[in-house]
Symmetry: D3
Subunit: 114 residues, 6 copies
């Protein structure tokens, strides 16, 4: 029932390019900043991606969840770690986040099976 991953990635890529190349500098700067905050620093990229995942889940944004799960898996997140992030997100964000936890579990399996 969740989105097709490849179709979603292609759409995101295409639209982000249109936004960033629209000529509006502030939009371009925002997207640059959105990449910068997840780069290696005092915290390693894996921890930062887990932070992005939990924030996306409590704010209930499916597209953001899919993006960060993909990145978290690249950074080595295990199934147990994923479940614990979801546990915190559910308790903090409440049952209203359950549909997004469903998306997250489905995407976690889909991406790991690639």
């Amino acid at each position: 029932m969740a989105k097709d991953l490849n179709e979603f990635k292609a759409y995101r890529e295409k639209m982000n390019k249109i936004i960033v190349e629209s000529g509006n500098l502030d939009l371009k700067r925002f997207f640059a900043l959105d990449s910068a905050v997840y780069r290696e620093g005092a915290l390693d990229p894996k921890t930062k991606e887990l932070l992005g995942l939990v924030a996306s889940t409590v704010l209930r944004c499916d597209d953001c969840i899919i993006y960060h799960i993909d990145r978290c898996i690249e950074e080595g997140m295990t199934a147990e770690e994923f479940q614990e992030v979801m546990g915190i997100a559910l308790v903090v964000g409440g049952s209203i986040a359950i549909p997004h936890v469903r998306t997250a579990f489905e995407m976690f399996e889909t991406i790991r099976a690639r």
Copy 2:
């Protein structure tokens, strides 16, 4: 335009099972608690389901709305009662909730017509 009800129910069932049986006890406990709070107590199940419906609508969660409308109808919610819950949800949550009120009205008719 809204989701197919049977497909949605099958997906929800399947994913909830995966989450609850993942081995993470906290996730299992959260789902148990999510059932417990709607059980008969000082308040009857119908009132509790109306509370779940209004909370889902102001928080703008279509999947949650569909679930609670289904349960509210099982508990005997009439069309007039449904409309009054939606009236409160709209005034409290604002026009931003209108797309979800549309889902609710469509689902109310769909479920009652079964």
Copy 3:
């Protein structure tokens, strides 16, 4: 630590009057509608106030919580009923609602002790 109830009521009254009498008809109509949806209809006023209370709690609005607890108590809400509404609000809205549940419990005791 919560607000002084009488001071809060006086402030709310004073400011609502200023808003409603500002000369903007749409503001006046919104406030009229905000009263209308809680009036006796297919659902009784007590149930409607419980709906207002749960919606205010999951949306995390202390001022709205205080208003609806006051009205719920006028309509005869018991301690057990209050706790069950809070249970649903906590599970739906998550731990992020806990500070507002604390306000609600404090206000419930304060208003009942008057």
Copy 4:
């Protein structure tokens, strides 16, 4: 990937009619008020529609965004103005609004190309 515009408009029209004609006066009044606040007043309709667009974007409501972009274009919003509204929405609402900014850019092009 975004919704089909004509299908969406037909669905919205149909469901709004059902809601407004349900017999519940408060629902009808809310919809009337939702039209009234965007009418010419001290502020012109274009400015009001821009306000509706930015509010819809920070509240992350795709259906509301599509509606207001359509109206903004009718009122003469240019590409540069649209991008500046999106810039404010992104900074105020954060990266969690990005998926909705993608919808907005796609719909802006779609509607202008009609």
Copy 5:
């Protein structure tokens, strides 16, 4: 009942300086961007501040509302224009925004009386 305006401004100034000078470049860049999006462009500063005000109100952020009302008044917003922005915010955001509309009206009078 609302915050003391001068005390609030001094606190905001002091804390923003601490954040921007903390040594973290991304925080500094975000604050720079937060100023940039309200500067004159295709839209004039007054319209942009009205956009900031409506976004702050529907997102229910008192501190942000106070900041933007101050700026809107500097840009020449009249009482009628202010009321119309509040009307849109109330209809879009719902009664849950009423406490913040009260803050806005009080601050509007306070700042205009300086």
Copy 6:
């Protein structure tokens, strides 16, 4: 301008006790679960507290931010780590989170100075 830390802790303690001992089992279970998800597991307590902090900041809950900053410092969070968490929270949650980032910076200094 932020809350007095000791007063806040005493209030939180007192009210949590009242809620947990109210006799409603579901409320008690929710609070137990709210402790459980932050305990050592596949992820260490420090990472889990960082997750709690970023979630509290994007959801804009001052009381939750204060609680998690206190715990994060106990778990050894450095100033640089704290700033990076705030950077992610600001970019994800937007400028609407700035007032809460101000609270966080003030509390970070206050708690570290004890």
